[in-house]
Subunit: 182 residues, 6 copies
Amino acid sequence: MIDGFACKPADKVAETDFFFAGLAGTKPSAAAAPLGSAVTAGDVLAIPGLNTLGISMSRIDYAAAGGLNPPHLHPRASEILFVIAGRLEVGFITAAGKLVSKTVSKGQVFVFPQGLMHFERNKDDVLATAIAAFDSELPGTQRVPVALFAAVPPVADFVLARAFGLETEVVKKIEAGITPKN
Amino acid sequence: MIDGFACKPADKVAETDFFFAGLAGTKPSAAAAPLGSAVTAGDVLAIPGLNTLGISMSRIDYAAAGGLNPPHLHPRASEILFVIAGRLEVGFITAAGKLVSKTVSKGQVFVFPQGLMHFERNKDDVLATAIAAFDSELPGTQRVPVALFAAVPPVADFVLARAFGLETEVVKKIEAGITPKN
Amino acid sequence: MIDGFACKPADKVAETDFFFAGLAGTKPSAAAAPLGSAVTAGDVLAIPGLNTLGISMSRIDYAAAGGLNPPHLHPRASEILFVIAGRLEVGFITAAGKLVSKTVSKGQVFVFPQGLMHFERNKDDVLATAIAAFDSELPGTQRVPVALFAAVPPVADFVLARAFGLETEVVKKIEAGITPKN
Amino acid sequence: MIDGFACKPADKVAETDFFFAGLAGTKPSAAAAPLGSAVTAGDVLAIPGLNTLGISMSRIDYAAAGGLNPPHLHPRASEILFVIAGRLEVGFITAAGKLVSKTVSKGQVFVFPQGLMHFERNKDDVLATAIAAFDSELPGTQRVPVALFAAVPPVADFVLARAFGLETEVVKKIEAGITPKN
Amino acid sequence: MIDGFACKPADKVAETDFFFAGLAGTKPSAAAAPLGSAVTAGDVLAIPGLNTLGISMSRIDYAAAGGLNPPHLHPRASEILFVIAGRLEVGFITAAGKLVSKTVSKGQVFVFPQGLMHFERNKDDVLATAIAAFDSELPGTQRVPVALFAAVPPVADFVLARAFGLETEVVKKIEAGITPKN
Amino acid sequence: MIDGFACKPADKVAETDFFFAGLAGTKPSAAAAPLGSAVTAGDVLAIPGLNTLGISMSRIDYAAAGGLNPPHLHPRASEILFVIAGRLEVGFITAAGKLVSKTVSKGQVFVFPQGLMHFERNKDDVLATAIAAFDSELPGTQRVPVALFAAVPPVADFVLARAFGLETEVVKKIEAGITPKN
């Protein structure tokens, strides 16, 4: 649990504290995003009533033909992903270095254990959409490429170069291509 | 957390342990159910990989024109409900006796805090479907009418009669109309 | 844990923060209550020192000859009940629909697992009293009949009618007979 | 939570798993005990249904005129004490070294925060009895004098001598006077 | 978790919130302390960034030839001790009264389960130093002799006398020799 | 907590269950490792007594002149790092994309919040060593480059290429240079 959010007095609680419309509708932003995916978060920042309840939900949209939610992790939550539309290639890597992956179609679910890196990719020629639930009201997210290659201030080049076995100029090229928008 | 489920050795873990197809497809059972709703559970009994992860997901289908998921509760989890199709009247009652309710349309979400009684109802003339996520791998469910009026062995008539202010014959009539299938 | 209560500075802590006299003495209110039972709560609202400690205690008094603590649940706690005086018929219903019940006499204890509906009834001709402990400093309580049939605003009649298999006029009769005082 | 206890299949659960008669009746053992107190535990070892529920209960009897539950602690639980009969002097010491103490009479309660040393003493000329609830199904107990001066194998004399500022012969005298029965 | 500490807004977080220099350097205070040991705490009071993270660290220095960290306990945490310099006799007592002890040399670790009394002693002729980690950002500490014999206000002499089988004058002598500085 | 480890009967518990010598001595392996760092884990797999205690400890050795513990994360724990020898450049990236970094010298500590990517690097010309404590008995570790570029089976090249903005041939070059030994 993450504290720091105030509890409303019981008699001030309203139905809007437990409701969120932000996951509905069409989301054209995925196609425009650099990696072809867009996340809309329904966490405690969006839904005040989630405070102390230990659960939240996000929507992810994937552009056609390769829309990618790149390798990322949620530091405080496991995730269960439900595909609403389309078909996704998904996978996570275990702490022992095993890739656990699957093609998940509309109506099917896949689980990403807490804190492990995972990704989803839309290989088909139509938009795909998924709903993800988390066992935290504020699961947090780190997209690996953005966190490492577009941190502010930046992670030292030699750390990234040695870690990934890259020459410094390649590191600089990656950094130039990645922005926090990725 | 509920224990009692074995942990697989890491090298035996397979992608099927984290996958579930059972929430997909059409669910004609809702229309046939006495109350016009049918729940398909994606908990640790269906998805072994959920063990210790503290999350799970269910699908609920609602028949047209009144399909009802009657007042019920989950003893070990909060719930976040996402409407996939149709439109639902939903509500929960706080411990202070306040009804917190809302009409929730396709793509919108509503939250039911842990352990509180809640319900959903489809007022429209088309099928409705929702996905519910829980912060427990085995949230459990008690449908109030079934639990109280169709327990095995039965709850004593005078308990129910006095609790609800009913004459014993009315209790017996309710019991006759309710089965664990409700 | 429920947050929202302030922590006192350690040097301001007093013995009265950890003490409660409100469970002592005679409680004539049970006999006067509509269902013949009265609950006195010793939770964090009454005992500030319970904040963050995850425990609390209530006293329940039962009128002679049928005093009933009607089917209810605690959304955030398991309960262990100790009978101080008299003899009670108690029971809870499992998530699988099984009634687990027993006669519990003075000095004996019974356990109600977290979030499951349960009840106690005094069948004898003398007052009965019990102490209940909870693994939450604010377990909360929902009395099922009151929560469903006397919510403010009310739960729609057709929800209750269909859920319990009742005609609307019976629902209205139940509602008329139940007040939040029950 | 302490694991290591098996979960029963739901259909094997019986009412006796949730019931305990061992706290009832008269307990003559308190008067005979070296320190004039006797504890009867209603934890998961006595009540199998408590497994995973995070709660348990004990009964403590105190001989007249000085019956003492000596300074002790519960490593895994907070405690809330309810006096059934008689009157007790109780106290706990905070981590800051403050004694928080009170006289607690029949029907009153006092709280001992998790892991802190505390004690109860019967100053009156009649037996006293209390019920203690814990937010763990296996809270554990360490009576300080017994744990330190009657451990098996023994704590080295020089540790105890230096810690308490005692000469070794006094340590040996204390050890001779204390047995695990204390 | 202990609440009561404020969460900083994410954009105000600084590296100094997660850094602590107070465990470094030489600690001459151990030799001067009455029992020959000195503890420096790196808990949430010293490192604000530990708030909600559930971990903290202390340094303990032991004077040569008998420096003793006397029997004590941490009410809210287990401990893992790593010896940086020297060699320590360490032990804890289980709830069943068994002493679990060992000689732990530089670079070795020993574990003290949550809430159980334990101690460390430097038998060698050189200073010893250890680092202790806790699974709480505010584990708290009770040194048993100080807590019992130097509480403010004091624990009644007859409680201590009876608990330890001491004559009152011996209790008074212990009290005279122990101060909160011990 | 991770279950799946058996609890020993209390009378079978031995001091060796709570002891670990594996973090002591010299660790020449760091210099030989591809990235110049080597981790020795003292988790529940190495120390059986840690089961259910929620804490563990690792030692990390860093080769001189650039020994790197590359960007990695612990899916189930926060970490507190204590530098035993040498001096380290350390940092973690917040969920908001901020690098929080510091130079940490011998005897100083730094904190890495749960699940967030972090790294340590030895810039000096001497070996460096640190001790890391975790609030889990089995925190797990994912080294980002190894997990993503040396998973078995491999993560699809186009996922990595698009995520990091790399041409496929560069991805293949990284994969060729990284083995699970990194």
